[in-house]
């Protein structure tokens, strides 16, 4: 049950475009709340709200520097979520590769009707 809730928090956290952008920004290095707020033209409280969601999902953490408390990416957690999706993707890719083959066949049939 624990694991279920954690993964669920990750997927919900990643479903929001602003939060995905924050993740992308943090992928290039840690940043303070102020630094994160700038490119988004958002108030600091609004950004803090998004950061809280990401933190709860375990995707980011806070640094120790007393003043800035920079946020940084927890890459391991992100990779974990990616792994789940990748397996699911493989399953469907198998189906769609068969569909590719079938469509080629249907196209060939249309070109020369019996």
């Amino acid at each position: 049950m624990q694991v279920t809730h954690r993964l669920d928090a990750i997927f919900s956290a990643l479903a929001d475009p602003t939060r995905r952008a924050i993740i992308a920004r943090l992928a290039s290095g840690q940043a303070s709340v102020n630094e994160l707020a700038q490119p988004f033209a958002m108030s600091q409280p609004a950004i803090s709200k998004h950061l809280k969601v990401l933190e709860r999902a375990g995707l980011i953490s806070r640094g120790r520097e007393a003043q800035r408390r920079p946020r940084r990416l927890e890459a391991k957690r992100l990779a974990e979520a990616d792994k789940w999706l990748e397996r699911y993707r493989q399953l469907w890719e198998g189906n769609y590769q068969r569909l590719d083959t079938l469509l080629d066949e249907l196209k060939a049939k249309e070109r020369k009707p019996q």
Partner: protein
């Protein structure tokens, strides 16, 4: 060139899959709505066949699919009802597995957009809850482990030799 499949969680309970196909959308639509075509590709992991594929494609019509694992005979079934049918661009249906491992049913929306003889498929699956969505993703992982790419190649090769009825 490879047409990449993208799967992204969207909102709290949607999963969105997008993929391009090198074919006009009428053919892609046919492959999703004609049972004799559906059962040739919608098979899941290698080693499964689809002995039951019944589809009454009209608003309010039902469909019933069942897969069988060739090695031990175990089966997996699912079905639902068509909610919207707009050939060749849109198909909305409900989906529920016989032995569902996630709560409720999902609402699946297939949208096909054609451009220059190619078709972009977008399949949105809306689950009853965020927890249900996650259960589905996790099952994909378990099955995905079994579906190694090596065996996939073998399936593709054999499928290419089958003549449609």
């Amino acid at each position: 060139m490879k047409n990449a499949l993208k799967i992204t969680p969207s909102g709290d309970r949607d999963l969105v899959m997008t993929r391009d196909f090198d074919a006009p959308r009428k053919l892609v639509y046919d492959a999703h709505t004609k049972p004799e075509l559906v059962r040739r590709w919608l098979l899941g992991p290698p080693g499964w066949s689809m002995p039951v594929c019944e589809m009454d494609v009209r608003v309010g019509g039902k469909y019933r699919w069942m897969w069988k694992k060739d090695t031990d005979g175990s089966t997996m079934g699912m079905g639902g009802v068509y909610r919207e049918v707009e050939a060749p661009e849109r198909l909305v249906s409900t989906e529920k597995f016989d032995e569902a491992w996630y709560p409720g049913e999902s609402l699946n929306t297939l949208v096909l957009v054609e451009k220059g003889g190619r078709t972009t498929l977008t399949q949105t699956m809306r689950y009853e809850s965020a927890a249900a969505r996650e259960a589905v993703i996790k099952s994909g992982m378990e099955q995905g482990v079994a579906a190694s790419y090596d065996r996939l190649e073998a399936v593709l090769a054999s499928t290419a030799n089958v003549t449609p009825r």
